[in-house]
Symmetry: C2
Subunit: 544 residues, 2 copies
Amino acid sequence: MEADLIKRLIEICGSDHVLHSPEAIELYSRCTIPWSRTCGAVVLPENVDQVSRIVRLCNEFRMPVWTFSRGHNWGYGTVLALQEGALIVILERMNRIHGVDEELCYAIIEPGVSQGHFNEYLKNRGSHLWIDCTDSSPDGSLIGNALDKGTGYSPYGDHFGHLCGMEVVLANGEIITTGGVSEQCPTRYTYKWGVGPFVDGLFAQSNLGLVTKAGLWLMPKPEAFEMFAFRVPDPENLAPVIDAHREMGLRRIVSNCHGFNEFLAVARTFGYPSHLLGGKQSLSEKDIEQLAVEQGLAPWTFVGGVYGSSRQVKAHKAEIAKYLSSLGELVFIGDTSEKLLNSIVRGVRKPGLQGALYKGLKSISHLFVSRLSAEMMGSLLSLYPFLKGEPNESILALAYFKNKEQQPKQNLDPARDECGLIWFAPILPARGNEIQSFVQNIKQVCAGNQFETAVSLIQVNPRTFLVLVPLFFSKKTSEETERAQRTYDQLCELLKTHHYQQYRCTTPQMERLLECNPSYQHLIKQIKQALDPNQVIAPGRYGV
Amino acid sequence: MEADLIKRLIEICGSDHVLHSPEAIELYSRCTIPWSRTCGAVVLPENVDQVSRIVRLCNEFRMPVWTFSRGHNWGYGTVLALQEGALIVILERMNRIHGVDEELCYAIIEPGVSQGHFNEYLKNRGSHLWIDCTDSSPDGSLIGNALDKGTGYSPYGDHFGHLCGMEVVLANGEIITTGGVSEQCPTRYTYKWGVGPFVDGLFAQSNLGLVTKAGLWLMPKPEAFEMFAFRVPDPENLAPVIDAHREMGLRRIVSNCHGFNEFLAVARTFGYPSHLLGGKQSLSEKDIEQLAVEQGLAPWTFVGGVYGSSRQVKAHKAEIAKYLSSLGELVFIGDTSEKLLNSIVRGVRKPGLQGALYKGLKSISHLFVSRLSAEMMGSLLSLYPFLKGEPNESILALAYFKNKEQQPKQNLDPARDECGLIWFAPILPARGNEIQSFVQNIKQVCAGNQFETAVSLIQVNPRTFLVLVPLFFSKKTSEETERAQRTYDQLCELLKTHHYQQYRCTTPQMERLLECNPSYQHLIKQIKQALDPNQVIAPGRYGV
């Protein structure tokens, strides 16, 4: 990168916050997908004024900036730009909490505020508010995830839907506040649509501005809470189970439920079971079935939260039982049973106890619990905190699935440790048959390339499921990396054939994203041209 | 209007659908607010292709078009443009229903589909889906109201929030579909945010395009439904009642509740009680209190719906009682009691029965019912269908409040009948004290101008209330009309002092709307300039 530009960036942010040494470039240019870009430099502004000055400077130098809130974006392309040598702007130092309104239940935060930090912040101040978190790293940005249309576990799981009121730096460096109202307007953070056109959507999955502050609606802590976990022993029941979730979602009994297949549960819990390969490149359906039997896993498991007053929770539990009981095995877990189960699961792991405690539990407790191995029970319980907005690192184990021996105790970094991970993320209507058949198609593509299939089904709204498929591979072998890329390409072709949309897409894929809708693409281009004539902010992001 | 333009419009839409006779101009240039514009002509296209051709033509002729779905927009400015002599495009002939998905619970409709027609359509086809309606005329457009960020009575009351997937004609005549996905994408109408930037918001309260088709989410008919009605006898309790509604909204017990004061109830039910004036220009607080006592009205009444399974409704009713019982008198009305009460109310009106039936009811029934006069009970019951998505004309009586003698039995048209009505529509955070004190301020302004104050408080989301104030006057006397205008101006000044935003604003007010946020206004201007360089579509609408 031009020395003059670096010098000017240092003038703005200080030399500690402009990273351009070979080591820094190497560190920030890593990713887990089969793709590579080398960034030009990384700059970490501290406030909105610095962001504005950086953007103006980049206009002067015609330097593209790729923007990133904080966290990692593993499996989608980390912080890397479409362009070689771009300037990466990471907003992690902008981590101020500008206010929490306990009455109206919202917070005003900057993009550098992580879900882990903010959850702890609220707990420490004795707040009665809960965040909705993702199952990704606690280090992830709340605003960044919301702008990427991320999804969580609670009734506040539609993250973009719960942003309200933004401060944005435009490509000309101008700082605006959205809503069409004055900055002092008392409903800026409570009434999303504002007056006049609603422009906040322009800054989601796009490159039309950098969001530097936003309001985020928070859920008041419910009087009662339980998790439901539901085993589907017959794989043919997946379709009616999805239909039941659609009905329950529409009737506001549950929201943002997560389902997963047995192989995803295995990947969250263990390293890759290569001892079962016996010379093959991947496990057969039979191998996986056998593994599932050993661990007491059903082909599909669904989990979700039940929130409300004691009366509401009681009513909703009865409804859930009505919709699901005939299709599998249902259990509810509250705070007390979660603690008990967790202590037993931990006990089993201690040498000497030899699982006696867990076996004792098996003989007395609910069918559901009695079937799962202690490891799988532990893995299931690690989802419990997510439903209460408490993020943890458990999901990161996924990324190390094929590199288990490399997984450190702390400071996990799959990109550094050569873990391969790509997320395939199509969105489907909540029709059981359609989703079941598409999952079959995915399995065929994966099996045809000697990969097993891990799948999550996430109800992003009552009418819609995200079918989230992680492709695991080791970046150490180029054959496997190429095979993963081929599999991903074939899955994307499959998606196109069905005209499905993507929830989020990997960076290299973005350029061709809007080709399916040329007149729409033209509209977006006109807006981009008007707001960013020098194509400075993240050119090409999400096809814009 | 230029004869050549008229000729070309007729070529596109046929002579029956281009209205430019003096009678037609007069008919369409009426409105109920103290303001006047004369339109140049009215054109009624039948399909999206005609809309596109009209827009291209207007670019050629540099003719501004003011766009309107269908219905009336009484009290905000009817169909009239900011510009004298503009072409008015009304989409009422585009009234096709392109599909109803009973499983995923949405419909695809054109802007000419009215709420009354669509409700009947669903009933006639035995659909299990309910619309959310406004309390405005059944003739109003569902899409038009949603694009104006209208609000209803049920959990689907955020109308813009329940639009999903649009077809739009841009100012250059291009027809686009939103969502960033292909036209065949199966989640176009189920997943609102699409992929890439979310642009649908650009077409709400704006002039950046004409929406010609959209998806609308519908509520599955609940197993159980009841209306709650709540009297607040002590006006000092308004603040805690609002706070209770905030809590109930946040905890998803109720949504989109409506409160109203005693004078609004009077205006919905009777003509203006001028016999009480005794030479004064307006009624005193004491007069209104006396009137309320006669009719059994409390200072404030709130209503809302309880929806769900029998179990959910039971739980929610218990919660509502928990939050409200100590603050006033609460009653629940279901289908059976609604029918009974209605038949009794009708019975009372029959000569001969002399209210015996109603009095009988009074002596045996709930306190709440026993207090209200039969007329007021009838008026309250007329809200019941709204909660189930069934619109009726009852609210139109409001517009005739000061011109009761002119109100026809059928074919109500307040603009034709010289009724004066302006809506003042500020939006406030859901804090009881703040709303109570602002209502006091409103009352002072109205009283200072010899007007009584009628107020609705509508919970547009858990955190926010719309404070809706109709100003009634007779357009027959210029003194009263001027006084109404002065009152409205003073109310708008009051709103500015508090930095409150408007929910919707009257057309003449639009031009100065975005002055409070110049950098935002600049952004909107840049987008408008890029998409509509000739300023053809509705220039000035909502400050754009």
